[in-house]
Symmetry: C2
Subunit: 386 residues, 2 copies
Amino acid sequence: MMTPLSAMLRRQVFQLRLQNPARQYYHSLWAMSVRSKANMAGELKKPEEASLDLNHLITANRWSGDELAAVKTTHREPTDWVDWASYMTVRTLRSSFDLFSGYKFRTTLGAMHERDWLRRVIFLETVAGVPGMVAGMVRHLHSLRLMRRDHGWIHSLLAEAENERMHLLIALNLRRPGPVFRGIVIAGQGVFLTWYSLMYLVCPRYCHRFVGYLEEEAVITYSKLIDAIDADQLPMFSNMKAPLFARQYYNLPKEAMVRDVFLQIRADEACHRDTNHFFSDLKPDQPNTKVDHLRKGHFQNQNVHSGVLKLQREAQSKVMHETFQSLDHDHDGFISTDDLRWAFQQHDTPFNDEDLDEMVRKADRNGDGKIDYQEFVKVMSEGDFH
Amino acid sequence: MMTPLSAMLRRQVFQLRLQNPARQYYHSLWAMSVRSKANMAGELKKPEEASLDLNHLITANRWSGDELAAVKTTHREPTDWVDWASYMTVRTLRSSFDLFSGYKFRTTLGAMHERDWLRRVIFLETVAGVPGMVAGMVRHLHSLRLMRRDHGWIHSLLAEAENERMHLLIALNLRRPGPVFRGIVIAGQGVFLTWYSLMYLVCPRYCHRFVGYLEEEAVITYSKLIDAIDADQLPMFSNMKAPLFARQYYNLPKEAMVRDVFLQIRADEACHRDTNHFFSDLKPDQPNTKVDHLRKGHFQNQNVHSGVLKLQREAQSKVMHETFQSLDHDHDGFISTDDLRWAFQQHDTPFNDEDLDEMVRKADRNGDGKIDYQEFVKVMSEGDFH
Ligand SMILES: [Fe+2]
Ligand SMILES: [Fe+2]
Ligand SMILES: [Fe+2]
Ligand SMILES: [Fe+2]
């Protein structure tokens, strides 16, 4: 039986489908909640069918189980003075950083907690995104200015920079740092950016070796983090699901845990380590042939659709908010059975008081007998209204 | 009938197939030339089947006929003082450039020849590759330093920069400029890079509008170039095939002409024009939703395999050179019938003197009765030995 409300909703859904997948999603959730009551299942398309497969479009390929298992902490022995200079720079930086960040102190005491790990990871990733971008830009400008080809380095370098930025954004999904920390990061980037840019103009070989050694350390750091999780020293991480952002980026399944994300990140770091040591072995005009990971889709195209995704999220919360307000007839900030009765009366729906009570009961999580906005969002997002 | 030479070649071909597609290609060409004589057609795989489909891997999608036809010269009216400032900057730059480069003078006289067009295009493209890279880098560093998302701008900007660099490399395939011109380009980049970077830090909106107006001019310039070709004013361009590099980049068919390449480039410029005007309309934290062209594959992944391609080209010429030397028995720099007779005697082949004469005659283009290296390369590359 087709009710006027569901008919109206259905019209809306079809109108909005092409315009905005998010609106359509919520409208059809709402329509479904009505439909299931009115016994009209199967008339609407599933929302997934109508909307864009954003998940597939934005993701880099995830590292396979075999690839993850093949990741090793490795060390390339320095063989000449440039190597040694890079190596000593990294060693010095690491020791000072471990000391001043309290890492050395805390690991000795076994007191590295989740927040300490995240602080460390966030700081390191804000730095890690710089070298690839600098090197990519320098080579790009060289190519333009000197009118010569690049031979496949730029793409690889920029992909590395973007990948490191994604590591940062993933870590930020787990913890937002405070103002002091942010100040240090801003100052740190100023210093590091200047130094690295100048060094790259003078001696690219030193710079790539430097990143190679830095990434050796990154692989070690993430390995220790994963070991700590496996040794039950980080209970919060052990039980934490992977954030949606990380799942989308790595194309991980819904049940993925934070540990799976760290495994993916470690594989990325190992890849950057090998690529940069390789770059350091090459002359600047030799071709980059280490592109298999790019061919497989790692690090690629990740942010093409992030703009569209943001719009989608915004549209979602706007539609959600509007729907809530239109249902909250007495404007007290809650949807009560009375509000629902009024809403459905507007559309001559066949719900009785018992139905309305049950709808509220299903959504009402804190048991105050009415639906607040948070509860409304929850129930609409999960689609368990029906 | 299986001859020892062809058997040996076949063995070589199979050994080398996985190792190097280029070697395999030339060995199988050579093997085919023997095979066709020895009547063993069909035993070897076609070289295309065995080797990597590099063509498909490195290309951006080409703009379709409909897309090309939809390209228009457009103008966005300046609406506020930032727009006006950008517009006046571009107008001033263009007028001065037209004057000092002699473009104004030559177009008035109708004396813009191919070399003048190429000089103009090359200079403009060395400049055009800067803004996208600068903007992409600034936004990348902002994202890292301020720990906030980018919302899909970076990828688009870097893809633009890379696309402009490809325009430059394509133009360089048509003409290599001299030292004075190169000096001007180097100085020009220094000035423009500094100015644009500072401006982008101060006012991104101005910068994107500036690029928008610059690209309006680029579309006009390429339109005039195409019109000049169509009006038979540029006979060299009218009859010139698209260089291999451009064909690979745009995935154009073998019969594509230089004019087709300019059409593709103009479509790129129109796309950058619209994207940058769009960026200028957005606030820096609004999401980039103009990503349809990226979704279709335009401007993407173009240089992932250029390193591999370079190695392939090097291997090709090495194998070619070695083969030539091994055939040039008397080391006089030419392959004569005597040389060939000796080569085939080593392997007990059933060729008679008449066959050998015909092989030489087929390859000998300048009619001196022997095959020089250039003729050898030609005949081996075209596979018309058989
Ligand atoms: Fe990282
Ligand atoms: Fe890293
Ligand atoms: Fe261009
Ligand atoms: Fe352009």
